[in-house]
């Protein structure tokens, strides 16, 4: 892709004709990492480690720098466990995040994926706030082939979830996705509302929601770390999905997010269609950042 090429050539230019790792090279590396949204702390931490290694003569060849960095970054991204699928049915997944990151679209993608695996999926329209959010989910439900449980705009999201899970049990579905309204992590009352939705789910089905997926937008800068921290504190997130990686944004803040929360990145969104969902692959992701 275009962005990949731009980055590759950028990194190649970095190393071009370089015999040693000098201050200039490190500064250019700093630019590369920071413009990928990796943040000051993570970027400078990585560069500091390289500088130390250079000093101790453990790292001298610029050509090895990339491999070294990739390995370092990989350790920052891993060491987190994906929660085990619980054996019971239905498996309830709640999808949360700030406004406009791609929650509803991501649910369509996840549902499409499960349906292709032959699972029976139900969608619950618990965003009763945003204009036409219910209609949006209904259209996606039709396209994917999943039923949607809904109430009127303005009704209590917890009540919709109560109904939704009752229907899920009655219809013996495999998976339930709960679409929630976008909310800024700083809004205490809206975070309380989310907790109430989770509690309602737990009353209905043991252990529900079994997964809480936080959707982050790759275009977001350092604020994504606060988002992850506060959503995790409030309801206990189990995994992260990063959307909009089909643009030019690198989503480098994911490293900071994983550091901060220890949560696994599970999927990435690479477009607006139902099949634009990919499993998160650390190697490919780092390759896109470092070239």
């Amino acid at each position: 892709s275009r962005t990949r090429e731009a980055l590759t050539s950028k990194l190649d230019r970095l190393f071009l004709g370089k015999k040693i790792i000098d201050a200039e090279l490190l500064e250019e590396l700093e630019e590369l990492l920071i413009t990928a949204d990796m943040g000051v702390e993570t970027s400078l931490g990585l560069i500091e480690a390289v500088r130390d290694k250079v000093k101790r003569k453990e790292l001298t060849d610029p050509a090895r720098l990339k491999t070294h960095l990739k390995a370092e970054m990989l350790t920052l991204l891993t060491g987190v466990a994906v929660p085990p699928l619980h054996p019971g049915k239905p498996h309830v997944v709640m999808v949360i995040g700030v406004n406009g990151v791609g929650k509803t679209t991501t649910i369509a993608k996840l549902a499409h994926h499960d349906l292709e695996q032959g699972e029976k999926v139900l969608l619950v329209a618990a965003d009763t706030f945003r204009a036409a959010a219910i209609e949006q989910l209904e259209i996606w439900g039709q396209r994917a082939g999943a039923a949607v449980i809904k109430q009127k705009t303005g009704s209590d999201p917890a009540a919709v979830v109560f109904d939704g899970l009752a229907a899920a049990l009655a219809r013996r579905v495999d998976k339930v996705y709960i679409d929630t309204a976008g909310r800024l992590h700083t809004k205490v009352n809206l975070m309380e509302e989310l907790k109430k939705v989770a509690r309602t789910a737990a009353k209905q089905i043991e252990g529900a929601p079994h997964e809480v997926l936080l959707v982050l937008d790759a275009t977001t800068g350092q604020n994504a770390i606060n988002q992850a921290r506060l959503f995790h504190e409030a309801i206990g997130v189990t995994g992260i999905i990063m959307t909009k990686l089909d643009g030019t944004a690198k989503g480098g803040v994911a490293l900071g997010v994983v550091q901060e929360t220890g949560l696994p990145l599970q999927f990435i969104g690479v477009g607006e269609q139902m099949d634009d969902l990919r499993p998160f692959e650390p190697e490919a992701y780092l390759e896109a950042i470092l070239g």
């Binding site: 630019e31 406009g100 690198k250």
Partner: protein, 306 residues
């Protein structure tokens, strides 16, 4: 609010107390802290660099060198320069000329275009205008319905777009409808798109050519990171933007993207979106955003206290 930059600069300069003179090296160290603060606030790497070069001169001048509180002086200079950069022309809408005047909202997916279109309609209605909202987003499921709902909420007419229509033809039709029904402003809500999506950017250019909007406003999320520069650059190159509207500002994002975009587009930030409700639209104050980017509460009272 916790004042990190001021604290850090305080530390940089405190070491000097009793050591006599302030040197160029101390200023450099202070500027380094400022640069890191800007980067933490999501100001683009290159924009931050240029900015620091710009203020180095002033910081090295007499103002700081002879000051008793050099840390606060540096903060003040940075803050003032930042506010100056963010400011500029008066942030009002261009509504003169032949009516109906068209305003076009563009931007990445999910940035807040549809909501902001409705907010602007309400704002204009309160000023005695008769706006028409026109959904030209035929992509996102229920996007047209979304704008209809919002229009109904504020009592503003919404053009009857159909999802199977071509967006360019739709925009022209909506303009004709605005003329026929005596509306004085036409607000075009376009589909979200990536700045690197050539066919979709060309579609916006075609709409622009047909409708001749007085304003093309980039609606951008305050939480945007380093990509803000590329986004603003591409939209500006394609469309010659007239301004920027920053959304979701009521959260805790530092909003450095605003500085990046302002630098690239060199057109005013006209409004701030500060909530999901349709009256949550504010006019822009450069000094407030400057304080916020620097991670400070009220910088002026801080400086006075020092």
């Amino acid at each position: 609010m916790f004042d990190r930059l001021s604290d850090k600069l305080g530390k940089v300069f405190k070491k000097l107390k009793g050591h006599g003179k302030l040197t160029e090296a101390n200023i450099q160290e202070a500027l380094r802290e400022v640069r890191l603060a800007l980067l933490e606030a999501d100001v683009h790497y290159k924009v931050a660099k240029t900015f620091i070069d710009r203020i180095r001169e002033r910081a090295l001048g007499q103002e700081v060198m002879t000051s008793l509180t050099p840390g606060q002086q540096v903060v003040k200079i940075v803050h003032d320069e930042l506010a100056a950069l963010l400011g500029g022309e008066a942030p009002r809408l261009e509504l003169g000329g032949k009516t109906p005047v068209a305003l076009m909202l563009v931007g990445l997916q999910g940035s807040g275009k549809t909501t902001t279109a409705a907010k602007l309609a309400l704002y204009l209605k309160k000023q005695g205008r008769q706006p028409l909202l026109a959904p030209v987003d035929t992509q996102r499921p229920a996007a047209i319905e979304q704008l209809h709902r919002l229009g109904a909420e504020i009592g503003v007419d919404v053009y009857r777009s159909q999802p199977q229509q071509n967006p360019v033809a739709l925009a022209s039709e909506a303009m004709a409808a605005a003329v026929a029904k005596g509306h004085d402003v036409l607000l075009l809500d376009t589909a979200g798109r990536l700045h690197v999506d050539a066919p979709l950017m060309a579609e916006l250019q075609a709409i622009k050519a047909d409708v001749g909007p007085a304003e093309i406003l980039l609606v951008a999320d305050a939480m945007t990171g380093q990509d803000a520069v590329a986004v603003a650059q591409n939209f500006h190159e394609a469309l010659d933007l007239t301004g920027v509207i920053l959304t979701k500002v009521e959260g805790d994002a530092r909003g450095g993207a605003a500085l990046s975009m302002r630098t690239v587009v060199n057109k005013p930030i006209k409004f701030l979106g500060v909530g999901e409700k349709l009256d949550a639209l504010e006019v822009f104050h450069p000094d407030r955003l400057a304080s916020r980017i620097l991670g400070m509460g009220d910088v002026l009272t801080l400086i006075e206290k020092a």
